[in-house]
Symmetry: C2
Subunit: 341 residues, 2 copies
DNA sequence: TAATTTTGTGGAATCGATTGCATATCGCCG
DNA sequence: CGGCGATATGCAATCGATTCCACAAAATTA
């Protein structure tokens, strides 16, 4: 309603705009009585400093961009939460940017940084190429990835905070093996995406270490959705030999897998065991409760934000990489009942 | 890396900054050959316009604030999605602001608008008072509420898009009554909050219309969390007379209620029926599947954003109120099995 | 060819807050 | 009572893009 500037206040109090600025921003000298009058006038006029002007002059936005592939995935909400905790403590705002798993959208996010819409970015991406990595490296603003990535040439200008997904899938698979399963299928994301490939490798490593063969027919490239998991499992269950257990690279797919099993009349875990990854809320709510791997999403968010804040305050020099260890949460979907002994 | 302005481009091409601005922004005259040279130079210098400068001069941020009480609640994911669809089409960015159900935080969000951090706001709030409503009404920027609220004095300066929660709880209760239940308990939010009260009224209306008494002992004020629902149900189930059915004002509480029932050894819906509201993903995943009321979250988000965009383009004059009708989704938790006839 | 329009470009002010430098006022000491 | 340092304040430039106005050059018409 009232659009007042420091000039209006200055005029009203009878001082110069510079003095008003010093009084209100707290920077620089200002006599106590003058300051009191200025503060009073500001309150009276209902003054609010113009963000754009401040940004322009100071060269800082106090905002960060959080670029995420998929808003619908509950996985990211814990991350948002973690990020937000840190940002709040530092007086930063979060701009939420939805990249839809598309490189083009990621480049748009980067472009926003170039235009100084935000001071830095936390990026969740699944596919790295010279296109996005190159653009990030050319950026003046700091970027934190939530993946483990080192470009071929090294010398990257971003930090990363990530959970070891390789390890996550590995321990999930080892768990199934320890439960006595041998024919274990794996449904993951695209193998041509880095993270998709890493997860698969976790599965393969666990299998090979146990001396089990990886059957190509039991490896599905899917899309991290419930539907995708469902489709993959259906194919296996209707085939000649069905697996004893299925590792899904995330919980949503695991739930799809469980549904397919149920429809096929298979009991979990008696007839077939299932594990997922991410440990979403729903993992403990589905029936039977789903064994999953906790990815510490909130912690990732927190640490990523912390690294970013440190970087913005110039406290970091080299590249910083933080690796978090995932934790297996065993529930009903994978426990061999009455077995062993 | 490269911090170039229109002045650098101007110098390089040998024209004035004004011409560069015209060429790149597309506004105003600019000769085709000059324009080509300018565009080429801009590309060469890797030029990106400074957002802050643009904001300052144009008086527009191309951002909107989405203030939400609770990031963890899956309910809002879909709203974010809906909002985002519209914003994207209009070239706007979303700043996500987490109010933690606190008035103080809401006022902070409003303060951000006063400082022109964003052009407008979509606000999800549970409690309205002169403090927040007054501040909103004093605002120059448009605000859309996702609740039905009219202040006592009328003449409000905001729009609202909402789902009729009264109606939602009413049809849920009517459904339980139609299934033959008479002793129906209700667990909702605080009755001193507007939306909490409205929901309760929906329950009361349905009961009274059916000639059923509302027993104060069967009405619980809780907090929309799973824990809260659990606690309320436990009290009832351990009491002398237990209800035949329970209406929960949202799905999270309903899930808590179901858990309490299960622990008490009651079968759902044979021994006790449960309905929730919001129709979250998990409603169809819990066991038994939860009857719920679909609140069209995504549609709320979309419409709210649309109203806001229209308002920002000056296309709206009076106050605009959009009311969406909720829909009952009947699942296993409330179906009387083998009854009636 | 002179007169008149059209088209293209430069000059300079502007948005609102910040800040280095210069200046003014005061207190205090010798 | 002159002068020195400390404290307070004003001046004016600055951040980078936009845009009104004026003017010049080119195209049109008489």
């Amino acid at each position: 309603m009232d659009k007042h500037t420091i000039y209006h206040i200055a005029e009203r109090v009878g001082v110069s705009p510079s003095t008003v600025s010093r009084a209100l921003s707290g920077r620089g000298y200002c006599g106590p009585k003058t300051k009191a009058k200025i503060v009073a006038a500001a309150k009276e006029l209902n003054y609010a400093p113009d963000n754009a002007a401040k940004m322009l002059k100071m060269g800082v936005t106090n905002k960060i961009l959080f670029a995420v592939p998929d808003i619908c995935n509950p996985f990211y909400f814990d991350m948002i939460n973690g990020i937000n905790q840190v940002l709040e403590a530092h007086g930063y705002l979060m701009i939420l940017f939805y990249t839809k798993h598309s490189l083009k959208e990621e480049l748009k996010a980067i472009q926003n940084l170039r235009e100084k819409v935000a001071d830095g970015m936390i990026l969740v991406s699944f596919n790295f190429s010279e296109d996005n990595i190159g653009a990030i490296n050319k950026l003046g603003a700091p970027v934190v990835l939530t993946n483990n990535y080192t470009s071929p040439h090294g010398r990257d200008r971003f930090d990363y905070v990530y959970v070891d997904t390789f390890e996550g899938i590995r321990i999930a698979t080892v768990h199934l093996i320890e439960q006595g399963n041998r024919n274990i299928a794996y449904v993951g994301g695209s193998l041509s995406e880095q993270t998709g490939y890493q997860r698969f490798c976790g599965y393969r490593e666990a299998m090979e270490e146990a001396g089990l063969a990886v059957d190509d027919g039991f490896v599905a490239e899917s899309d991290y959705t419930e539907k995708g998991g469902y489709a993959a499992a259906r194919r296996w269950l209707s085939g000649p030999a069905r697996p004893e257990a299925i590792v899904a690279a995330n919980d949503l797919m695991a739930i799809g897998v469980m549904q397919a099993c149920e429809e096929a009349g298979l009991r979990i875990p008696q007839d077939i065991a299932v594990v997922g990854m991410d440990n979403l809320d729903i993992a403990s709510r589905v029936h039977p409760k789903l064994t999953s791997v906790a990815m510490q999403q909130e912690e990732i968010g927190r640490q990523a934000a912390q690294v970013l804040m440190a970087r913005l305050q110039g406290e970091v020099s080299g590249q910083r990489a933080v690796k978090l260890i995932p934790k297996l949460v065993v529930r009903d979907s994978s426990r061999r009942v009455g077995g062993g002994a």
